[in-house]
Each structure stands twice: as C-alpha cells, then as structure tokens.
Symmetry: C2
Subunit: 102 residues, 2 copies
DNA sequence: CAGTATCCGTATCGATACTG
DNA sequence: CAGTATCGATACGGATACTG
C-alpha cells in the first residue's frame, strides 16, 4: 500500500471499467449473483436500453459475465464468470475511495 | 473478496479513472514520487500535450495531484496528494487483474 | 421481457502548430 | 520546458420508437 511499490500495466481493467455505467452495473452483479435486464433498468437511474445492451454485450464478449437463457420462460439472466468475480477487489477499493472522498 | 459483500457507490473513483489515459498516468506517479510534464510525454506512448494537459488539470482540480512550480528553474513537478496516494490500492488491483487476464 | 433500429448531438480525443 | 490554440474526425451515448 505504500506509494512506492511498482504499478505496471493496467490496461485490460481500464478497457472495461472505463466505459460509462460499467462500474455501476458491475456492483449489482457482485451483490445479486444473477441479474435480469429489466432489473438493471429499474435500479440504475438514467441508463437506456440501448446503452445497457451495449454494456452487457461488451462484458459478455470479454468473458466477464455470461448469459443464461431459459427460452421457455422467455427471460434470461446474466451472472458473473470467475473472471468477472475477480473484479470485486477493484470495485471494493473504488467504493472505499469514493466514500472517503465523496 | 467474496462476491456477496456489499458494493456501494463507486462514482467518485469512476469519474477519475474513467478518463482515457488517467490510470496509465497515475501509475507513473505511484512509482516516481514526482513527475514532470515532458517525462510523461516520453514515457506514455501516444499521448499528446493537449490531452496530457487536460488530464493533469483535471487531476489537480480533484485534489489528486499538486503542482509544484519552481519558477527560477523554469520547470515544474507534479506529485500525488494524500488523496491521490490512496488511489494506489485500486491501481494495484487493476494491475493484478490485468496481468492475470492479459 | 429483452432487447434492436434509427437518428442525432456532443464530448472526447488526435494532429499539428505555435507560445511564454 | 511546459504548455495553449485551433480544427476536425469519430466514437459515444441519449431519446425515442419499435419488435421477436
């Protein structure tokens, strides 16, 4: 935690977390274990379906979430992959910092 | 680190780290203790002075770095504030994740 | 419910040239 | 050295309406 330790390449995480909405979205995944499209629309104020869809697609393409479709129920869920779950420490740190300097 | 712990608001950190280049820039601050403009230009491939200047201004406005000018030397340095140093855990986690999933 | 299609404004960023 | 000025491309995201 000292400021002098080496910090190296940070790009992969930046590519994901730099997108607008994505950190907010991910915090729901961390809490909920599985999430539905309309659920996010209700919980995340201001996001529109076009953007939400784009974020979900990007996260899926990166292997951070996976889509679980149950066709007979005409609904689907998204849930974190292992790779996605390992973003949790970053999110937690971002939360801590944000609360401290709100 | 369990996926079920509560993650709350993450916006303040997102506002900073969501800007293109900023995480890359910050990693130099974490290592170097004090940094000069031209130093960053040399080290960060592809950034142009306009953008670098904008990032530095934003970081200064947020109280994450401070500018130390030595007029008689016609050069200045930037260094992390306490608030800025406390971004280190986030950057470190981002590095770990990025390396693991490069 | 879970998206897609379309359209469009703007914010962001790059390139380049120039300055105190 | 440490920036600013200008200009222009485009990527990004918002609003809205529509669909399997």
């Amino acid at each position: 935690m000292t400021a002098t330790e080496t910090i190296g390449c940070v790009k992969a995480a930046t590519k994901i977390l730099g997108d607008k909405w994505t950190p907010q979205l991910l915090r729901f995944f961390v809490n909920e274990e599985s999430v539905r499209f309309c659920q996010i629309q209700d919980l995340v104020e201001g996001i529109n379906p076009r953007t939400l869809s784009a974020r979900l697609d990007a996260l899926e393409a990166e292997g951070i979430i996976e889509k679980v479709t149950a066709p007979e129920k005409s609904r689907c869920e998204y849930r974190l992959t292992k790779k996605g779950k390992e973003l949790t420490p970053i999110l937690r740190d971002m939360q801590n910092w944000s609360e401290q300097y709100a």
